[in-house]
Symmetry: C2
Subunit: 343 residues, 2 copies
Amino acid sequence: MLVMKKVFLKDIAKKLDVSKTAVSLVLNNKGDENKISQETQKKIIDYAKKHNYVPNQLARGLSRGKSETIGLIIPNISDTFYSKIAGYVELKAKNLGYTVLFSSSNEDPKKEAELIRSMLNRQVEGLIIASTQQNLKEIESLKEDKFPFVLIDRHYTDSETNYVIVDNFNGSKTVTEHLLKLGRRKIGLITLKPGLEAIKQRLLGYHSALNDYNIEFNKNLVLELSTENYEDEIKMAIGELLKFPNSVDSIVFSTHYLTSVGLRELKRLNVKVPQEVAIVSFDELSAFDLVDPPITSVIQPVKDMSNIAVEILINEIEGMKENIENTRILDSKLEIRKSCGTF
Amino acid sequence: MLVMKKVFLKDIAKKLDVSKTAVSLVLNNKGDENKISQETQKKIIDYAKKHNYVPNQLARGLSRGKSETIGLIIPNISDTFYSKIAGYVELKAKNLGYTVLFSSSNEDPKKEAELIRSMLNRQVEGLIIASTQQNLKEIESLKEDKFPFVLIDRHYTDSETNYVIVDNFNGSKTVTEHLLKLGRRKIGLITLKPGLEAIKQRLLGYHSALNDYNIEFNKNLVLELSTENYEDEIKMAIGELLKFPNSVDSIVFSTHYLTSVGLRELKRLNVKVPQEVAIVSFDELSAFDLVDPPITSVIQPVKDMSNIAVEILINEIEGMKENIENTRILDSKLEIRKSCGTF
DNA sequence: CTGAAAGCGCTTACAG
DNA sequence: CTGAAAGCGCTTACAG
């Protein structure tokens, strides 16, 4: 009966012998300000409740040019990092009265651009985007139009926007320093091809730590893989790092999935972790504490990041009622486990 | 310019000096069947493309009573199992021309019921639901109304519907047999409180395997935790199983998250896995092959499950063009790793 | 306080 | 082949 016996506004109006206007007003909590009698209001509300009235969102959205919906565009909903963001964003948005529309760009800038347009056409009221960072034009358009949006996890350095990101530079520096403090000197970095600012910052953090310890930068120790093909490339990368005995005594992996496949490969090669090669991971998987060895990781504040993004967005949608800082760089946390040995 | 310079149907019609009807027809690929000249069609299509015309989905949906959208209701988008389903469903649906609306029920039947209604109000054309299995009434309503939907991962045994699930009984039986073949005889089961059919089947599979080996069922070895509070309860549960020396020589965990927290607890107690206690997991986490020890797991065919669900649903939405089996029980796969020792 | 009316942007018989 | 018109279900000035 959910579909068939649908009640419409006009049905309520007819049955109760009031105008559609009155019904609409009351059901939108505008009864008092329009001085509709308490009696009439109660009558309408009771009837609506009893008959399970729910307004057709399409009609409502079309009429008001609004939808009480926000869009979330992420690279990939299957990735644990982004699915956690999705979960927190959904929860927070729901608490504030908004539904969220998710979509994955699969790191494809064209698809991301399409998604942005498609979401606008669905009349979302705002957008949270973990961008491929290759859609500056679209981002600028949104800004021009004063369309509310906030970038999450990844931002554009050459455009002033709302954003919530993590401090990639310091996270990466801290974890590299951790290896240095433990006496490691030949530190490899397995990362992605630059393009994402976050990845660039992780590289810079690594540099900076080495620099503080007066260690000359050896570019042979930095391997940049492609996003699409990292699973194959990592074998070569690790082969490269281990080409000569003692060429490397530790590896920083700059994403959780690089860590997973990297560790898998190290195990296949019977490399002892951490004795021969210590490893650390930027970002983690939920089982990293159970892995052999438990992996020292930089943990990102996913929940805070998500909540703050939603707060900034909805505050803007609702007309800047509160004074919230609209650019945020959050601290990560180093979780020390056993993949680097001990002091 | 995405928002402001929006082009509407009437703009195109006016500029090109044709009717709105013509524009709408052509843009919906009904130009030929309405015998609109190739010339006019080309003119319209070119103009639309050039000016980035995208129809307002709200208006279109309202007018047609359709939305080219399907809804996916899952317990929790943050859970890796469901986020994978979401990813595959999104991909498959997109390939077939549909957008998907996700929402998490958080295992709350009321919320699930609300979500169903809310999605209907957004005019989704069909629903894929991993249900809490406590909304039989809503499910029956959908059936009565002939509203297209398919249950995924969890189905109602007392209602005939479309569904795609995994063979929980045999998956569980196989993994229990695996332990038996390795000589384990005191096999604990850490599972959830019954309620979900899948969980019930896993229990029955466990029973059946024990039965085949003439092992008397000991109910002290089966511990049923609550979904909300399993993290705390698991400590007690494992304490219970290990209360007496040699009370248990192996444990079957019936979900991936129970395995994670269980193994964490076993490690905390310095129980040697698999020497003292072997463990197996129903369903897995992506790092289970890296865990210490790598965990023998029942792997669910998530991708197939998702794809088939979408196929069944869209086939029904589009009027049963193809003859597809509408109830499917898929095989799981036992991935033998090291958490049970070897023969 | 109320009701008739216009409008949101599209689709789709229907008459020509 | 084309165009005027009604309709999807709601919201919201506006006149009373």
